[in-house]
């Protein structure tokens, strides 16, 4: 199809010319997605561990709730965060709305349940014996967690990559909390949405291709990393 050929050529042109505007958009995307994945990991992985490691009433219900949160629409999350950071709200004075920080906050909410549930599932596939072995060797809870983490590392890494993929490709939160302000909060996806709005489909698809190249590169890295270890 001529349309895709056009888009492909445009994408190539965009990349080859190292268009500064494109560069900035890509940098913003990577930065925002990177931080939100980082924060979601920092909260989500320990939460997953806590839930996996403790037996308590309502544990399965809590997991069900986390699973439900996987289906939270970006619009809802954006509105939720908006209600806290809009100027008139409690955190309004921090002036977060329409900044990259706002996107990061929203995206962290989006993927934090993904990372938590993936972590729980990865740990549940790790043999109970690893935990017992660490305990009998004298480990405390933290050291046990470290052992289990090492055994579950690929599962958790996969969760992180999937989450990164989710945020770098999402548009609702970036648009609504970031505002798609050129030079400030314009990401690959909001730029795509804008080009689409303008009817510039070729440019939109070209940007999409740039995004796919980035995420393919990340997955390839993971693939090689995992491959090297399992040889």
């Amino acid at each position: 199809m001529g349309f895709f050929l056009d888009s492909f050529i445009s994408a190539f042109e965009l990349i080859r010319s190292l268009d500064t505007e494109l560069l900035l958009i890509v940098v913003v995307s990577l930065k925002v997605s990177g931080f939100s994945t980082l924060f979601a990991g920092v909260f989500g992985i320990p939460l997953g561990f806590l839930i996996s490691f403790n037996e308590f009433r309502g544990k399965r219900l809590l997991i069900t709730c986390l699973n439900t949160m996987l289906a939270l629409p970006t619009v809802a999350i954006a509105l939720f965060v908006y209600a806290f950071i809009s100027r008139r709200a409690i955190f309004g004075s921090l002036d977060l709305l329409y900044t990259q920080k706002a996107i990061i906050i929203g995206q962290t909410f989006l993927i934090f349940p993904i990372i938590a549930t993936f972590t729980i599932s990865a740990i549940s596939h790790i043999d109970q014996r690893y935990r017992k072995t660490a305990l009998t060797l004298g480990a405390n809870q933290k050291q046990v967690a470290f052992i289990v983490l090492r055994e579950a590392k690929y599962g958790i890494l996969a969760a992180i990559i999937a989450s990164f993929g989710r945020v770098i490709s999402e548009v609702g939160i970036s648009m609504m909390l970031g505002g798609n302000a050129k030079g400030f909060t314009r990401t690959i996806t909001t730029a795509m949405a804008l080009e689409y709005d303008k009817g510039e489909f070729v440019l939109a698809v070209a940007l999409g291709m740039v995004l796919i190249i980035i995420s393919f590169a990340i997955n390839l890295l993971f693939h090689l990393f995992q491959g090297r270890d399992s040889k």
């Binding site: 002036d95 505002g179 303008k198 009817g199 070729v202």
Partner: protein, 272 residues
């Protein structure tokens, strides 16, 4: 440097038309002030002003803008420019709206012919104008009311539209409405700027043509309103006023007057 950044919510049409790409760099060159643009639907842009999320709003829904100022959210509405709306349709014009005497009579013909009409349906300036024109046709309207709760009080939100499945209310931005209408080869109403961009500014073909234009009722005025620092003390009111006054100054107005998209004038200055 952070102080030299002004946040502005505006409608997608000002951004998509490319006008801001001319105005903002010039403004920055003149004053050193950077403008951070948040483009969205008119309703959401006004909402940003109400919530104090931005310093200034630049929209096109005159009556709502005046209401906004009256309620104390903004200090003053500066009339910046206008363009106009056009009624578009397929070239073979099945409802024969060409040569209608007025915009509302054109719409009436579409309704009577049961030809498909695509509406923004998103409470935007364009949608507000379209609803106004439908009201003038004196056709029977269907009004839908939804009750919601705001600040603990019940409040109803209602809108009206002609009856019939030929009327497609799609609740999206202008560009998407044009794409939709083109796909369905149906009638629609658009601002001239977006239409020109779609018709002449892209590689893709666009088949709809202007079937009615020029009615006074189709005028589309844009206004800029700095947010009231009494309501939102944090806003950069000074910069906002500076920007608004720059826009209505001879320099700003000249730039607007001179802006051409594919050789066609899109906006007409209102302040000189």
């Amino acid at each position: 440097a952070a102080d030299k950044i002004l946040s502005m919510s505006t409608t997608t049409s000002t951004q998509a038309s490319g006008l801001l790409n001319i105005l903002l760099p010039a403004f920055e060159k003149d004053t050193g002030i950077k403008v951070k643009v948040i483009a969205k639907g008119t309703g959401a842009a006004i909402r940003d002003g109400v919530d104090g999320n931005v310093d200034v709003i630049f929209v096109h829904a005159k009556s709502r803008e005046e209401d906004f100022v009256k309620k104390g959210y903004g200090t003053k509405r500066y009339a910046v420019m206008h363009n106009d709306f056009v009624i578009l349709g397929p070239a073979n014009d099945p409802a024969k709206v060409k040569n209608s005497s007025s915009a509302s009579s054109a719409l009436k013909k579409i309704a009577l012919n049961q030809s498909t009409f695509v509406s923004r349906g998103d409470d935007s300036g364009t949608h507000t104008k379209e609803q106004f024109l439908w009201k003038q046709t004196k056709l029977k309207m269907k009004t839908t009311t939804t009750t919601i709760t705001k600040k603990g009080k019940k409040k109803s939100v209602s809108y009206s539209q002609p009856i019939g499945s030929w009327y497609n209310s799609i609740g999206q931005g202008m560009g998407k409405v044009l794409t939709y209408a083109d796909e369905k080869q149906s009638y629609t109403m658009s601002d001239r700027g977006t239409y020109i961009k779609y018709k002449f500014g892209r590689k893709q073909k666009f088949d709809l043509t202007v079937l009615h234009e020029g009615d006074k009722a189709l005028a589309n005025p844009y206004g800029i309103i700095p947010i009231n620092p009494k309501t939102h003390p944090h806003v950069k009111h000074k910069l906002a006023v500076q920007f608004a006054e720059w826009l209505v100054s001879a320099r700003g107005q000249k730039l607007i007057d001179g802006y051409r998209l594919i050789g066609k004038q899109l906006f007409y200055p209102d302040a000189i």
